[in-house]
């Protein structure tokens, strides 16, 4: 049987190589031209604890982690018991027979992983034993994996050959053992190497690269899952003349420190998750009021309070749309794929500079930790923007007029007070109604500079359309493709730009009978916002801490379109 795609779930205990195995399989596959995506969950304890990671390998670009598991690799009994049910009918289980034994499951077989690894003389080759076994199941040529071993272990050390040989042997032993079990799933269709250059990375890494490409100068942050990896990346890589990265003492310090840096002329950013975002509320209002460019990344996890630190959710939207007290509206960008993590970060930094104020970039746990191969961003297409800077002599009023105006930078003429109290044109505190009117209108008018008609539309003549946001884009798009194949009359819209929404998109949405918004929260946060803007939107909600399954979306959207007879007629 030909297979275009297969899904392996590695489950076991933290420290058993669950993540390395999944990422190794993904890397090996992408090197020969497949597409790969991993979906990681974290154990809730530091060492050990149950954990699992899923890798999906496909001939075609991948949109979601995959609903059904073709192969479960169970490192221990608990993993087997927990995940056995998720294996699709006809799927298989490989378990580590050096850890436990099973009888009476005719879809599983034991692999003496540790023993085989040991026999190669390299105990660390256990992952390769597993990969070899998996390769047999889908009839993946041994050469593919050997190529990966070569790329990974050829590092110019004296014992390179020895290490490579032992890993290759481990691949072979795993493969032979798997073959002798008599099980097989089919033949994975040979890959077609994409013609464009690729990179393979996690969502958070793509955000970091995008921010650097847009000219980020200054980053501070406070550790919090799942945003910590951004801090760690920046501490390591945001170095050199005029660059600064630092771990500060709280999220209140994070936001107020980048307020200082943004005011002083730098492109400044921080990243956090829900609890830290809550602490930044007052500072975000100050950035709006004093007109200071900066970017805050919210890597969503389950909330509220400490919530579900290691699970995914899209429940911070209302907090991001209404992040501070008072008359304020901050621009919000939400990314939906690893590639968008890169370009969303570029856009966020550019927007902050363009309208001189804070921008919120939303992402989520499932994207932050996902490893995926993407088209390598072409830096020549990235155009960093720079704020309008005042370069005249003294006697200038920073807050003059009803629209954006050049911003003076400390050290140069044009001294003013960046003021979080309502102020006059010089930045001095005032309570005059006329000034509050002027400054309020001035601040809101600047949002117009961010109105861009960048959105996806497909079968836009349908009366019923889907419009996911953020990380639910992947499963939703996969569901949409299936729905169209089944002739379900439904259209597609998507944008990263949640606020301000592309004006042309909003106009189109208002014409629709029904806009279906799949989103991972209880309240249906985005559909509520769309309704408040005159769109007839309803949500498909889920609040499990896990991403959507494509199958569930297909089912629910089919039902919803069925209950709209009018559209059926039109279609």
């Amino acid at each position: 049987m030909q297979m275009r795609d297969f899904v392996v779930r590695f489950a076991g205990e933290g420290g058993q190589g669950v993540v390395t195995s999944a990422e190794g399989l993904a890397q090996a596959s992408t090197q020969v031209g497949y597409h790969a995506l991993t979906y990681a969950t974290f154990p809730s304890q530091i060492l050990g604890g149950p954990t699992w990671t899923q890798a999906r390998i496909s001939v075609d670009p991948i949109l979601s982690a995959g609903d059904d598991v073709d192969v479960l690799v169970a490192f221990n009994r608990e993993a087997y018991d927990t995940h056995r049910e998720d294996v699709r009918e006809g799927g298989l289980v490989i378990y580590n027979s050096n850890d436990f034994d099973l009888e009476g499951d005719d879809r599983s077989y034991g692999l003496p992983v540790d023993e085989l690894a040991r026999s190669t003389g390299n105990n660390r080759a256990a992952n390769m034993v597993i990969m070899g076994a998996l390769a047999h199941l889908v009839n993946m040529p041994q050469a593919y994996l050997e190529q990966f071993v070569e790329a990974r272990f050829r590092r110019g050390r004296a014992n390179d050959d020895e290490i490579i040989d032992s890993n290759n042997l481990a691949l072979k032993l795993g493969r032979d053992e798997s073959a002798s079990s008599g099980f097989s799933l089919g033949d994975l269709t040979p890959p077609a190497m994409p013609e464009y250059p690729q990179i393979m990375l996690k969502g958070n890494e793509a955000i970091c690269l995008g921010a650097l490409a847009a000219g980020l100068d200054f980053y501070v942050g406070y550790p919090i899952s799942p945003a910590t990896t951004i801090l760690v990346f920046m501490e390591r890589n945001l170095v050199g003349e005029g660059k600064f990265a630092y771990q500060v003492s709280s999220e209140i310090e994070s936001i107020t420190t980048i307020l200082g840096a943004g005011y002083a002329g730098k492109k400044a950013m921080t990243a956090t998750a829900g609890p830290g975002f809550s602490l930044m509320s007052e500072g975000l209002g100050l950035g709006w009021m004093a007109e200071i460019p900066l970017v805050v990344v919210d890597v969503q996890r389950g909330g509220p309070a400490t919530g579900l630190p290691t699970k995914t959710e899209q429940s911070d939207l209302l907090a991001c749309m209404y992040p501070a007290h008072g008359d304020v509206k901050l621009p919000v960008i939400a990314v939906g794929t690893v590639e968008e993590c890169f370009f969303g970060a570029v856009k966020a930094l550019n927007w902050a500079e363009r309208y001189q104020g804070p921008v919120i970039l939303m992402t989520e746990m499932a994207l932050a930790e996902r490893v995926q191969n993407i088209h390598r961003p072409d830096l020549s297409k990235v155009q960093p923007e720079r704020r309008l800077v005042y370069d005249g002599s003294n006697g200038y009023n920073r807050y003059q007029g009803y629209e954006l105006s050049p911003m003076p930078l400390p050290g140069s003429p044009g001294a003013y007070v960046a003021n979080g109290s309502e102020h006059d044109e010089m930045g001095d505190t005032t309570h005059l109604p006329s000034r509050h009117i002027q400054m309020t209108e001035r601040r809101f008018s600047k949002l117009k500079l961010l109105e861009e008609n960048e959105y996806e539309a497909d079968n836009a003549d349908e009366a019923v359309v889907m419009m996911p946001w953020g990380g639910s884009k992947g499963p939703a798009l996969e569901a949409y493709n299936q729905l169209r194949e089944q002739n379900v009359p439904v259209g597609w819209y998507y944008t990263m730009l949640l606020s301000p929404l592309p004006p042309a998109l909003l106009e189109e949405l208002k014409q629709k009978e029904l806009v279906i918004v799949p989103e991972l929260n209880y309240q249906g946060q985005f559909s509520g916002i769309l309704r408040s803007q005159g769109v007839n939107a309803v949500s498909i909600t889920q609040y499990t801490g896990l991403p959507f399954k494509v199958r569930d979306l297909v089912e629910r959207i089919t039902e919803m379109t069925n209950s709209h007879p009018k559209e059926m007629v039109r279609a």
Binding site: N237, G260, N373
Partner: protein, 288 residues
């Protein structure tokens, strides 16, 4: 900017200590300008929220840059400005409530980092702007609007606190002596590290401590204030502790440690080891 700007509608009460602090800061900035030749725009005054923080709008003459943000957050804002643009001179002005109560969590980290800024705390022992509630430096037992039967908490000792937290420059001054205070502020600005200038700046409306500070011979009140004796060795932390633990309000430089590198120096030294990679090079590390 007040004289030039009729729209600005805040005024200090007559006799408020903050007038003297403002004079001192104006002197200090002019001194600095004359000494360094750097323009006034090279100074950034990061102000807290309170009567005290309004100083940033009330400065006369040539104008520095100002930042008047939110309550309690002067220090991290100052860190952002200073680490973004090390060539700027960053001065913090904040009240005792702003700096020691809501903003208290920021003092320890900045002292440990030895952030190269000078912070002037205008201590009036009360929340002035919100009309007379108790602050960390209000004396135990004092009746204020929020402590109608007397203050319940013990008062904080800011000078001892700064020493313990590791500030590398600590001076104590009085708003009634703007020239002397200016000298302390200038030394704080020149210090390569975290400089605290703690100023007694009485609130004539809610906590008038002028008499206590200066004494009143007729009433037999001994002054709390005294000049730090010449023989005090400011580089000796033990001596500094002894000084602040004595009764009274010392005026002068209590402690000065010039041996510790500033945050900027440490960052430059440690991050010099880091490889510098372009975005393309970083992307190469993800290529396959």
């Amino acid at each position: 900017m007040s004289k030039k700007n009729p729209e600005y509608d805040f005024k200090w009460c007559p006799g408020c200590g903050d007038f003297g602090v403002r004079r001192a800061i104006e002197f200090a900035m002019i001194n600095r300008l004359e000494e360094t030749g750097l323009p006034m725009e090279n100074n950034v005054v990061v102000a807290g929220i309170g009567c005290s923080g309004n100083l940033v709008h009330l400065l006369e003459g040539q104008q520095p840059y100002g930042f008047h943000g939110i309550h309690g957050r002067t220090l991290p804002v100052a860190m952002g400005v200073k680490m973004a643009r090390p060539e700027l001179n960053v001065l913090v002005v904040a009240g005792d409530g702003d700096f020691l109560s809501i903003g208290g969590e920021h003092i320890g980290p900045q002292a440990a980092r030895n952030l190269n800024i000078c912070a002037v705390v205008m201590d009036n022992g009360v929340y002035g702007l919100t009309k007379g509630q108790s602050s960390p430096t209000t004396q135990l037992g004092t009746v204020t609007s929020s402590t109608p039967y007397g203050k319940i908490e013990a008062e904080a000792d800011p000078l001892e606190l700064y020493l313990t937290l590791g500030a590398t420059f600590i001076a104590s001054g009085f708003s009634g002596q703007p020239r002397e205070l200016a000298k302390l502020i200038n030394q704080g600005m020149d210090h390569e590290g975290f400089a605290m200038v703690h100023v007694q700046s009485p609130c004539t409306t809610y906590n008038d401590t002028y008499e206590l500070m200066k004494g009143n011979a007729r009433k037999g009140i001994e002054p709390l204030m005294y000049d730090i004796p010449e023989e005090h060795d400011a580089s000796d932390k033990g001596a500094a502790y002894n000084l602040v633990q004595q009764r009274g309000m010392p005026v002068g430089i209590i402690y000065k440690d010039e041996t510790r590198p500033s945050l900027q120096q440490r960052v430059d030294e440690i991050k010099a080891k880091a490889p510098r990679r372009s975005v393309e090079e970083l992307m190469d590390s993800f290529a396959f």
